[in-house]
Amino acid sequence: MTAKTINLTLKVWRQGRGEPIGRLETCRAENISKDMSFLEMIDVVNEQLTKDHQEPIAFDHDCREGICGMCGAVVNGRPHGHERETTLCQLHMRHFSDGDTIVIEPWRARAFPVIKDLVVDRSALDQIIQAGGYISVNTGGAPDANSLPIPKDTADAAFVPAACIGCGACVAACPNASAMLFVGAKVSQLSLLPQGRPEAAKRVSSMVRKMDELGFGNCSNETECEAECPKGISIIQIARMNREFFKARFS
């Protein structure tokens, strides 16, 4: 049986708050149990750094079960690491080998400025949703839930893009730092459902405009986003958004 623990060399992006640029710094991760998650490995490193009276690595994380979308870093050039459909918190150290060197960088995009180390500001994604990623319904006036039957296939199709966790890995993975998969997922979910149709045209126009304003890049169909999406959301959602956009603009 192989050893239960491994030793690693980390090269971590360190950037102080307010610093325009950071640098990769090397530290050791010793005796890492293979059952740990990647974030638990960083916990161990941070615990050691703290004991050595050095500043621990700042990184975002919360639920640690792959659903909140808070965590994320680029590991050896791959957002959320190399495992498919896996968030960083669900990436386990058994996928690494003893002696590996791991380079950890933050999401990089003009729209995601670095706050500190691996922590970036993703409020741009909230701003895109504010531009129309919802159905305008006030609390209180809804008819009975079953008064509007929705074909199962439609509901299931809407669920697929609705699974987006808003982690921003698509932007990080995109060679152009484009947010098309994120926007496409929300536009698709709401345009598929009959409840979302009344404001579908307004929604897609306004969300796309907001996305452009915020400094994301343009989509060039490189499909890196769908390859890295921890929820496996496909560029079919982008194509659907494009259709919705043309429908909205040319009619």
Binding site: K11, W13, I21, L24, V74, N76, G77, R78, H82, V103, E105, R108, A109, R110, A111, V114, A173, P175, N176, A177, S178, M180, V208, R209, M211, D212, G215, F216, G217, N218, C219, S220, N221, E222, T223, E224, C225, E226, A227, E228, I235, I236, I238, A239, R240, M241, N242, R243, F245, F246, R249, F250
Partner: protein, 214 residues
């Protein structure tokens, strides 16, 4: 028309411009290729094709103007997109790794595009902007393709076009919103087939003209 301007200046609008102009160029490539295939039928067949083409007169001028406009749109939009995309990530990654989405065709689009632009300029100066009273296209061609460096350059350039098209073809469908799990694999396949066809169809011409016909 402000709605139109508003539309095409969005990121999706610019992509639409690239896709539509790209689609036109794909169609142009098909027509161009069909015309050029007459070469394999010998000098006479080819020259009669050229004659018929030139007989279209003003229509040719319209087509040329159209192609030039498309090229201006395609190239200027492309340049703008490349610049914007570059700006969207001011600090680059220290380690870059492909997750399996990118292809040679996709990541080289700006570079192959630039090479194609130069190639088209040379190509036009070789065969188009010549004194057609002193020299027929066929003569110009045989003159060019007996010179080995030109043969190599043209053949490689055609391969670059094929690489560009290998991403451009399916990509324009995606941009136009035509992505469906049932049909996308076929479109992807067609794109590969089309780029191979372009590579083979155009690619053998220089050698054929230079070494076989002569």
């Amino acid at each position: 028309m402000s709605w139109f301007y508003d539309t095409i200046r969005t990121s999706i609008g610019k992509k639409l411009l690239m896709a539509l102009t790209g689609l036109c160029f794909c169609l142009f490539l098909i027509i161009h290729l069909i015309g050029n295939l007459t070469l394999y039928g010998g000098q006479e067949l080819f020259e009669s094709y050229v004659k018929h083409l030139h007989a279209l007169g003003p229509l040719i001028r319209v087509a040329e103007t159209g192609l030039l406009t498309l090229a201006i749109i395609h190239v200027s939009t492309g340049c703008f997109l490349v610049w914007q995309n570059w700006m969207a990530r001011p600090v680059r990654y220290q380690v870059n790794k492909n997750a399996g989405g990118r292809t040679i065709g996709s990541w080289t689009m700006p570079y192959t595009g630039f090479i194609i632009l130069i190639f088209v300029a040379i190509h036009l100066s070789n065969f188009h902007f010549i004194d057609h009273d002193r020299q027929t296209v066929f003569q110009a061609m045989t003159a060019t393709f007996t010179f080995l460096p030109y043969v190599i350059f043209y053949t490689l350039a055609v391969v670059v076009v094929a690489v560009h098209v290998s991403h451009g073809f399916w990509s324009l469908f995606q941009t136009l919103g035509a992505n469906h799990p049932k049909y996308m694999p076929a479109i992807r396949g067609l794109g590969i087939l089309f780029s191979l066809l372009v590579a083979a169809g155009f690619g053998f011409i220089p050698a054929f003209v230079g070494f076989i016909m002569n």
